[in-house]
Amino acid sequence: MEPTKQLIEELGREEIERAQRMTFAQKFWAGAELFDYACAISSAAIRRQHPDYDDAQVLAELRRRVEIAGRSQ
C-alpha cells in the first residue's frame, strides 16, 4: 500500500506536535537515549552474528557500523 500525501502530512503534523509537547530536558536527552538504544540492539545483533567475539571485538564492530551509518547521512 502506498502512503497517501494526506497520511504523510498527518504523520508530519503529529511529529511536530509531539516535539512541541516535550520539555527541554526530554528533547536534550532524546538523541543520546536513542543512540544507546540503537547501540544495544546492534551489539546484540553483532553477538548473534559473531558468537566468538569478545567485548572488545563487539565494540570495534559496533564503532565500525556507527561510522558507516554516519557517513551515509
Binding site: 530536558a25 536534550f28 538523541g31
Partner: protein
C-alpha cells in the same frame, strides 16, 4: 556508561574548571526541532589559558583524547575529539573561533533545565543560521532537514529578521527563504 553519562561528565568537568561552553550540534538541534538519534555530542568551548590536557584529566581517564587535533574549515577553528573506552559515543570540542557569528551565538547562548542542572545551548535562530551555513558548504541533506524541523516546531516563535541578517552575510538567504516557505 551511557551517552547521557558521557555528556554529563563533560559538563561537570567544564563547570569545575570554569570553562565557558555551549552544547551545539545534534543536541541543540534536538532541543528546537524533532529529536533524532545522535552518535556524538559537540561542544563549543572558550578554553582561555586552560590546557586541553587539564580538561582531559578532569573528564576522566576512561575518555581517550585523540592526539590528532583536526580543523573545522567553516569557522576556521580547531577540534578535539574524546572517545569513551567502552562506548561508540564521541565527544567533540570546538574551540570558540574568531568567526563573527561563532562569537555572536556564544554571546547569545541560553540555559535550559535538564533535570538536576542547567546547560548552555545556542538560541533556535543561531542553530538555523549554522545549519544553513553547513548546508551551503557541505551540501548535506541532514542539515536542510534539521532547519525544516526547527522552523516547523518553532513556528511563530523565531526572530526571522535576525536569521535573515546573518544569512545575507553568509550567502544563505535564498535557501533560508525557500525553506521558510516550505515549512
Amino acid at each position: 556508561m551511557t551517552a547521557a553519562d558521557a555528556v554529563s561528565r563533560v559538563v561537570d568537568a567544564l563547570e569545575a574548571l570554569n570553562i565557558p561552553y555551549m552544547v551545539v550540534g545534534s543536541f541543540s538541534t534536538n532541543v528546537y526541532g524533532s529529536p533524532r538519534s545522535t552518535k556524538d555530542a559537540d561542544f563549543v568551548v572558550e578554553m582561555g589559558a586552560t590546557p586541553i590536557n587539564s580538561l582531559a584529566a578532569a573528564i576522566g581517564k576512561e575518555f581517550v583524547l585523540e592526539q590528532q587535533m583536526s580543523f573545522e574549515t567553516i569557522t576556521a577553528t580547531s577540534r578535539h575529539r574524546f572517545r569513551h573506552e567502552r562506548s561508540a559515543f564521541l565527544i567533540e570540542l570546538f574551540l570558540l573561533s574568531e568567526d563573527p557569528h561563532d562569537r555572536a551565538r556564544f554571546e547569545r547562548r541560553v540555559t535550559g533545565d535538564i533535570g538536576a542542572r542547567e546547560v548552555f545551548v545556542p538560541t533556535a535562530e543561531d542553530v538555523i543560521i549554522v545549519k544553513l551555513r553547513w548546508s551551503r558548504h557541505g551540501g548535506r541533506q541532514k542539515d536542510v532537514d534539521d532547519v525544516l524541523g526547527v522552523l516547523r516546531v518553532q513556528a511563530g516563535k523565531l526572530d526571522v529578521d535576525y536569521v535573515r541578517s546573518w544569512c545575507d552575510r553568509h550567502g544563505t538567504r535564498e535557501l533560508f527563504e525557500r525553506l521558510l516557505a516550505e515549512a
